[in-house]
Amino acid sequence: MTDNTTRRSPFLSGLFSAIVPGAGQLYNGQRYRATAILVGALVVLGMVVWYGEPFWYISPVIIWLWNIWDAVSLSAGRTRSILAPVLFSLLATYGIGWQVVQINFKSASIERAVQIVRPMLRPDFVTLRTEKNSIWVPVQVPCAPNPPKAENEINGIKAFATPNCASVGETVIVSASGLWPDTETQVWWQTPIGDPKMLGENEAAMLVIKTDSSGSLTTTIRVPSTALAAAPDPTLPFQHRVYFEQFRPIGGFVISSNGRYVLQGMTETLALALMATTLSIFLAIPISFLAARNLMSANPLTFGIYVVVRTILNIVRSIEPLIVAIIFVVIVGLGPFAGVIALAIHSVAALAKLYSEVIEGIDPGPIEAVRATGATWVQTVRYGVVPQIVPPFTAFTIYRWDINVRSSTIIGFVGGGGIGFFLIQWIQINDLRAVSAAFIAIAVVVIVLDTISAKVRERLV
Amino acid sequence: MLRVEHLSKTYPNGTRALTDVSFEVADGEFLVVIGLSGSGKSTLLRCINRLIDPTEGKIFWDNIDITAATPADLRHIRRNIGMVFQQFNLVKRSSVMTNVLSGRLGYANPWLSLLGIWPDEDKKRAIKALERVGIADKAYNRADALSGGQQQRVGIARALMQEPKLILADEPVASLDPVLSHSILQYLEQLNKEGITVICSLHFLDLVHRYATRVIALKDGIKVFEGSAREIDRAKFKEIYGEEAQEVRATAL
């Protein structure tokens, strides 16, 4: 090192640094180094104290010792490498971070991942087009003195049950004929108010029986234990039904009911992003002029307005639309409108800031040139200002629309409409096939829009 | 001695940049290559240190076949051939010092150099090289903080670090104004006088007259002229550069 600085006392240097990290370095005239050491030491110390695990105190201690040594070395004209303190700061930061966020790779079970991914490989968007064949037979529960005959015939399909009536838990023999031969047939119970009850194992699975080659089937069922759960008086006899249902594909596909929800969700998502972006443009343009420093710093009043507007914009910008949406769900209820307002508010703040930066960056040259031709104020704005701000405004707006499309996929998590509203429910009821359909739809729509907007922006710039 | 035999280069897209070019360069010569833009000058120079692999032909340097060198040999050969570029090709965000030191990479310990550790000897050499081109005071500036002429001098200092026997200069002054052109070429001339062979592509007739010991001219990848600088007169120059080409005087002195 060059020794054009006067040498300082090593003892004092060390002492100062021992009392306040960095002080000895300051004493040796190294202002930048001193600040870095002080700030670094404080941050690491604060972090370690906050976390409270004694082990990590090793880091600030080592940094402190190094800092004394460094100060002493400096007084002898030698600069020490900052590798050690940097390393120990990083060690403490990442070590504590690792523990704080509870990284636990053991919980990442591959088995569970497979369980999740497998249904996702069959997205629930379309189903095979099928036709249905069905018949039902009435069964009285519980028995009245003269139960009606348990038989029924529709379109040549017959079904009957013996006995004609039964109580909860009793066995009934049911048969059907005239169905499609050799076809899996679902057999289930329907209560008088229309509740379906399953008849398979433990009443938790669908009873499925194959018809014989002549299209008949016979099986014994047990009147489900919950058959009378909703009945006002369980001793009153009512007609319940046993249904036989067969499905067979007839070629081709139809959109499934979840597929329809995906379409509805994506339509809402797109509409939501479009309306939010459009609304925000109208609000952001006037606000951006108030937030442009070069226009507002003429006198103290306008400058005050500028400061207030900027501050509000910054606060609004730091609150994610998801949080804003919560408030608007309270006001206007669940649905896309709440999402539109929340996204629009956030976008106004974000766009107004970007727009105002464009205004601040206007080149006065062209304005002067237009004015020099004797143009009026309006003409000057039209030919000197507008051409400068319209392309960047448009580019920023398209960029915002991109962001809003992504955000509008999640605003539904708190009830703000769009695909997120369905997605979160499907996650909650473990309908992974529907989740997968939603994921595919999101990717397709977002990538297509991204590509288009990138093309448009490229042309503008 | 450098000997180029029947050199041809066809780019993968089918462009035929060089066709059957042969010539010799004796040690200590200052050979200038002239020709229109697109005539194949850069291709020729890059074939010599094999930044571009020629399609046909051979290049011998002190009877070593450069075109047949293995990668390890090639690095050894390149170490002895310095190169100076039209666009300087400095790492703009690195310091001047680092840029100059990087000229020494072919000699440096491969592992230490990866960590940015250089022997004191190399650092001294770098300072000396910068002193030679008169910008030692800029050693710790970022390269992009320098003017064009200064950047080209860094480029020369970088080539000097290689202790080259041959310097390839590809239009070293085409991005500079006439006054600076002379100062840069004077450095090359100085090096040439110290025994380093120089092969340099240039555009301006008066620069050719002033610095070249010998000239070859390319037109559409074919060698159309070889001779001493004095043999190139205005008529010859027009013939090479085409009728409508105006001879631009490169000096305002």
Binding site: V101, F337, I442 | -
Partner: protein, 371 residues
């Protein structure tokens, strides 16, 4: 001409459809706005500091009838009860005033008989200044016994000690730290993975030959696919896989950040100046040396700038990733909102505003220095 007309017609249709789909209703927005009063007011008055309270009982002796016992001394400051008369005959009515009690509190005025039994005399509320005034009957049952008067008494809460951080402020601080660490870890992990991947997605490095082109397109498509998901969407799946908590939140953030950093990095790599690479190759340096001395110095400033930018973004996202079970301050916030504890939610929101603002400022400053 017809083309423009078609475009305009198309736009009109799209806007009309969007307007209907999103159920826009500004009348409702304005007419129902008061509904948000409580929630917004609560957000604006976050629960930050509390004081400990002690319940004290304030009494004033009240002889019935007059002269049956000594009258009370009048106190003129501090929490006190002041009857309009100093004593009364049985069945008289008088007014009792209380001063400097806890403001806006429910007050129960009791008779405290000489034999220590108590009887409620009146109920009322204090105003903003802790004052109340209420009519009281001089009940016969409250007469003095053996020269000992009955007393009128009220309970009031008085603050003891100074202000201190509320539990929710402490919780929020804790969660904010967790949130910052989530952003830090996810950004760091993403950087480590995205930096090498980005070279695969840089056309000037990878796109050579069939194999190279395949690698290039696969990496590119991977980046684009993942980038199309909002981090919260990603977090739903990771939460489903790993159970809810900070870990799936960090993983989801990491994955999304890999994709966006990877894309930005690869663009930085694609924009490098190839001149220095050529120059270093010409000096006879080997490939690794060439990369270290010509590629790295060119890309590091851009990389660092993008990393800081993403760390800023990730702090933002970490504040909400908890809404889908990703941990951090967002989880705390969604819990408080679901429990209608809006003051505590307000604390969290203000903490988010401050931290995000600070990060935004810091990252902008640092990035300005870099270029």
């Amino acid at each position: 001409m017809t083309r423009n007309a078609l475009i305009i017609a198309g736009l009109v249709v799209v806007y009309l459809a969007s307007y209907r789909v999103t159920q826009i209703d500004f009348v409702k927005l304005i007419s129902e706005a008061p509904k948000a009063q409580t929630i917004v007011r609560a957000f604006l008055t976050p629960d930050l500091f509390v004081r400990d309270f002690e319940t004290t009982t304030i009494r004033v002796p009240f002889p019935i009838p007059c002269g049956s016992a000594p009258e009370a001394d009048i106190v003129s400051s501090g929490p006190r009860l002041v009857p309009s008369v100093k004593c009364a005959a049985e069945k008289d009515k008088f007014t009792l005033e209380g001063f400097s009690l806890a403001p806006n509190a429910d007050i129960v005025v009791r008779w405290h008989f000489p034999d220590d039994r108590v009887l409620t005399a009146a109920r009322t509320q204090t105003d903003d200044k802790g004052h109340f005034s209420v009519a009281v009957d001089a009940k016969p049952i409250a007469k003095s016994i053996n020269g000992v008067p009955s007393q009128l008494e009220v309970d009031t809460n008085t603050a003891v000690g100074g202000w201190k951080a509320s539990q929710s402020l402490k919780d929020v601080m804790q969660e904010i730290f967790v949130t910052i660490f989530m952003a830090l870890l996810s950004t760091s992990a993403a950087t480590i993975i995205a930096a090498p991947l980005s070279f695969l997605a840089a056309s000037n490095i990878t796109k050579r030959g069939v194999f190279g082109a395949a690698v290039y397109y696969v990496t590119r498509s991977f980046f684009n696919l993942i980038r199309s998901y909002d981090p919260l969407v990603m977090a739903t799946v990771f939460g489903f896989w790993l159970g809810f908590g900070t870990f799936p939140g960090v993983l989801a953030l990491t994955v999304v950040t890999i994709a966006s950093l990877g894309k930005l990095f690869s663009e930085a790599v694609e924009n490098i100046d190839t001149g220095p690479i050529e120059a270093l190759t010409a000096t006879g340096s080997n490939r690794l040396q060439t990369v270290i001395y010509s590629v790295i110095p060119q890309i590091v400033p851009d990389f660092v700038s993008y990393i800081i930018y993403h760390w800023d973004i990730n702090v933002r996202i970490s504040t909400i990733i908890g809404f889908v079970g990703g941990g951090g301050i967002g989880f705390y916030l969604s819990q408080r909102i679901n429990g209608f504890e809006y003051n505590k939610a307000g604390t969290a929101i203000w903490a988010i505003v401050i931290v995000v603002w600070a990060m935004d400022f810091l990252s902008a400053e640092v990035r300005k220095r870099l270029t």
